[in-house]
Symmetry: none
Subunit: 205 residues, 4 copies
Amino acid sequence: MSNQRQESKAAARSRAQKERILAAAQACFVESGFHGASMATIAETAEMSPGLIYRYFDSKNAIILEIIERQLTVARRRIRELHCSQNLSSRIFEYFEEKEPREKDSINHALYLEISAQATRDPQIAEALQRYDAAVCSELGGWLSHGRAEGGCGLSGETVPVRALMLLSLIEGLKLRGSREPDLDRRLLQDALDEMVNLLVTPAE
Amino acid sequence: MSNQRQESKAAARSRAQKERILAAAQACFVESGFHGASMATIAETAEMSPGLIYRYFDSKNAIILEIIERQLTVARRRIRELHCSQNLSSRIFEYFEEKEPREKDSINHALYLEISAQATRDPQIAEALQRYDAAVCSELGGWLSHGRAEGGCGLSGETVPVRALMLLSLIEGLKLRGSREPDLDRRLLQDALDEMVNLLVTPAE
Amino acid sequence: MSNQRQESKAAARSRAQKERILAAAQACFVESGFHGASMATIAETAEMSPGLIYRYFDSKNAIILEIIERQLTVARRRIRELHCSQNLSSRIFEYFEEKEPREKDSINHALYLEISAQATRDPQIAEALQRYDAAVCSELGGWLSHGRAEGGCGLSGETVPVRALMLLSLIEGLKLRGSREPDLDRRLLQDALDEMVNLLVTPAE
Amino acid sequence: MSNQRQESKAAARSRAQKERILAAAQACFVESGFHGASMATIAETAEMSPGLIYRYFDSKNAIILEIIERQLTVARRRIRELHCSQNLSSRIFEYFEEKEPREKDSINHALYLEISAQATRDPQIAEALQRYDAAVCSELGGWLSHGRAEGGCGLSGETVPVRALMLLSLIEGLKLRGSREPDLDRRLLQDALDEMVNLLVTPAE
DNA sequence: CATGAATGAGGATTCATTCAT
DNA sequence: GATGAATGAATCCTCATTCAT
């Protein structure tokens, strides 16, 4: 049992180390992109030696993949939380706002772009992104189609995938725009979202 | 005159070479990203020696900047053409469709992502993107605000920037989506766009 | 303490490596000049990989500058030692003789030429050379002006800078000559120096 | 005859072209050193195409060699002219002054350094320099040993080579110094030279 | 003769990865 | 486990030289 406890201690340490590396890597990638961030910089940020990183990850690419996976998981959760709200548009607004872009739970837009660009080349990443897309769409679709009584929107089957697609595209388009126009008028944005979301969430007459 | 003709011949060749290089570079960048594509590969693609490229461009970065400038110019023109149409949504659809992504006149979505990602780091590129954004927004805004008699949409001043923002975000969101889900259901897309665009283009009651 | 000892060990190794690189670089520069010596050759001479050099020096130019600085420091010390001697001319003779041009403490004339040539273009090097010149001149001047009782030459204020300039020019001229006429008659040289130095060191009547 | 005249015309043109190239090359070498000056820059300075240079010279190195040869020839002539003067020290002063360093007939000190440095590596250049040295020394020696009646200095056989060596070394040392300390006090220099030259030119008692 | 476009080998530098300690 | 020195392949870029026109 002591042995076991030791092992689990070791495992915990291992997990903590991986975490440190991923956090450092994410920070560096946000700052400089996947290519621009060197292993040396990541190691320095993680306050460890470059060599040690290779005890926890096979290669730089493995780190990138893990970070992508995580970002998509976070994104999926964030989207899922959206529809719990009565007030979708302000939730989207918050989602889009991104107070502290480096905390573990946030989606970083710059990174998201990097990931999307990478996906056009790396099929592994492309696949991960598609899994994510599918999950998000079905999630959103479920919500749109559920009756209002159950907290849904009561859209009819036909319109659901259409609306889900639009909603997602809009959200992503806004993210993209927001990440390169940081001083976009927030009020304007909120108003626009209110209107749009209302339209999308209301069953067509 | 012979001199002049010769000169113009040389200038023509020079332009043609630049074009060759840009085309090759664009192809490589699409394939491997700005970083991933090496000058050697670009040279090989352009069927010339690496050294020759430097007769026409100061550096790899100069090529990247030129390609970005061109992409944005094309994108701007494409957006401008959109509103000439009676049927906006199907034009957006075509815009989004992008049959042959390497022809000179087309916007390449992978490249667009690459550019956006790069913009988060390179202020020069960020500025170019913002110029582009401003131009496109005002273009679209003009069209939305003009009276229907003049081919516009007759939206009132308040709503114009809001709608323009939404429209653009939607378009870009769809582009992004389309570039990673190439087998997205086209009919679904067309239907969704029809509905959305109608909503966005109609004055609020 | 073990930590401290380890650290000092690492620091020692680091210093040793820098030394290795500088020695190799100096040998290569003497052989082929600053331009002619490639980093690859220097690395090979230092028996290490080219990449490793950059752990210790920022650039090839940084190495060049360091070597120049060192050469000038050595040269300054050598000049300073000259005037401690009763027999200046034979010290100059030794100075000029330079048995083993690659040992750390020696001035290499070929390198000195390279440095001087480089100084006509690189203001940083020019400045270093001028600092060196000023130091040497004042050093020599002090000695010339001090009373004989203190081991000086007792020259009056007026003549001091004139004589210092001549003495230095003569020494440098001889170095230059010696570096390209290695089989210059040593006896001839010694005689000439004896006479010249005597003249220069004696107060004008 | 017409043929001959044509040929000689052609030969003249050829000589003129070579001259142009050498002049341009010298200007470039002075500005940037042998290595720093590119064939392209030389061609531009000579107002011709890079390719044309190769009709007149085998290689860049051939140009360098020719320029060195010329510089030494000029230097030899300049030294020879020195002793025609009654007032040697002021002639040396002029020699050292170098008003317009790019005119064909002048010695350029920066170039001289470049040449000397190159000589430590290239035996061909080293030999040329030694030929030059020998010529200059014998020239100077002749003058020193000739009777005063014949415009010489009347030095006795023994001291001649010694004095010649010193004189030359001094002159070269001053050149070196002057080329890196352009704002050296001219009056100081003149005074120093006066004194030194007098000493060197006067027979030992 | 003359041009200048084209070549390609070579140079400085970077960085993911390995390995002796 | 941990270090960080070491490697060497790969990258961007330059420039002497050639050759089709």
